[in-house]
Symmetry: D2
């Protein structure tokens, strides 16, 4: 169970009223919840800037499923990562999700876990493959959400 | 089958040599492939800035599975979106992926399709829920990848 | 003089200790100051997403001062904006700063004020000019900093 | 004088027509110019991710000019950087621009040159000062624009 601590913050009234309006629109149940989210995002942004820190990533890619050998290479890469081969030793593929977009294109989301630096290398390798049309790497720092 | 067109581009030598070095590092098989990716990213960035344009989105969230009612609310929201209820009529949840991160936290990736404006509203609603610790909305424009 | 209001926020201990470490590293004098900055950034990000809201922008561009007519066009554009001509009626150029980078390139920072939508249009127009090599538009929402 | 090289790129027709529409809207005089800009942006993004690479930065900050000692500290910091003191030896302040926004707030843009890592450290130090309300660090890689 997480141990909560209560802290006091002073803000000027106008800023607070603008913030209250925004978080009401976004649907936050309380200021505490909204500020906790800002704090976590800031910590996560900071942490994923360090190539050595641990993160979980979603690699988001749109590709043409007619592209010969792409699927094969994606699967090989995912399995080698899972098995912890030398080349990608610090990254594990946890799972992936496949969505059929239209007659040509698929969306594939690959969830990876490991060091930021290695995740970025693998991501670039995949995004540069022939047939991959659009892609992005999303990193979330590990250990920020956890309350232990 | 996509119809290809060949165009000529002039770049200064130094810029080209820097670009060649970068794309070799990233693993691109050719300059054409690398430039096509830059062009698609630019088009996608532009398109997802317009609230009315069609996009596919991955909502990426880390949440505490002990948070009462969160999962229930997430499922309800996904089903209402699928069914096309009034409130979220322009957005469909296509699929979702769930990963167990540690004893407290889960990663959930929800794939949505619809208008950028509505996707952002739903995304904010989910990210502001109590128990959702970190999250991000990733948008990719539709119709850029497709070659018809 | 700004009227301050004090609010209480609860965070779990681990998150708070990670946050304290980060803001100490960044040099913040207090948690209040760091959280106020997060709140302002969030409000500013939200506001500059709305094309109709008022903002101040810094247009940041690297250009080749040998490019014929670029400087002339930049100056004309700045003056027409200042004078409030029809085309750019909602945007004013406040000031600009010029730095000589090397024998070819200059850095120019142009500070604009007006509606987000119009600022982005002018920005795109400038960034696409022949001779402009790199550029970015930075928007900061108006009225967030002010304590009245 | 820059030496130009001409390269051929193949794109599918639909993608090319979408790109042509976008760059016409943005005001680009030619495809070459638009693609050169995409290439330079990509190189700059890559380079400013490396803490050791050389960059020029614009530190963009909104602050309350009533904040005691802030201006004094900003000036001291800028002078120590210019003089190349030990603490900030790799970063030079080239210039700065000051704009009066309203009765409370000023916009200050400080142009720095040096290594990405050191620029980010100085930037964080300034942005965390009491009285600085909003800020951002903008980095542009050196040597990408230059045609030599």
């Amino acid at each position: 169970m997480a141990q909560l601590e209560r802290i006091g913050i002073s803000l000027d009234k106008k800023l607070l009223s603008m913030f209250d309006k925004l978080i009401t629109k976004q649907g936050y149940p309380s200021r505490s919840e909204a500020i906790r989210d800002l704090v976590r995002q800031q910590l996560s942004r900071e942490q994923v800037g360090d190539p050595k820190s641990q993160a979980v990533a979603a690699l988001f890619l749109v590709y043409d499923h007619h592209a010969t050998k792409l699927i094969e290479r994606l699967i090989r890469l995912q399995h080698s990562s899972t098995a912890g081969s030398h080349r990608t030793h610090a990254v594990h593929v946890i799972s992936s999700l496949h969505v059929h977009l239209d007659e040509h294109d698929c969306l594939e989301i690959i969830v990876l876990r490991g060091r930021v630096g290695e995740i970025n290398n693998i991501g670039e390798n995949i995004l540069s493959m022939k047939g991959v049309k659009l892609g992005r790497i999303n990193l979330v720092a590990m250990g920020i959400g956890s309350e232990s």
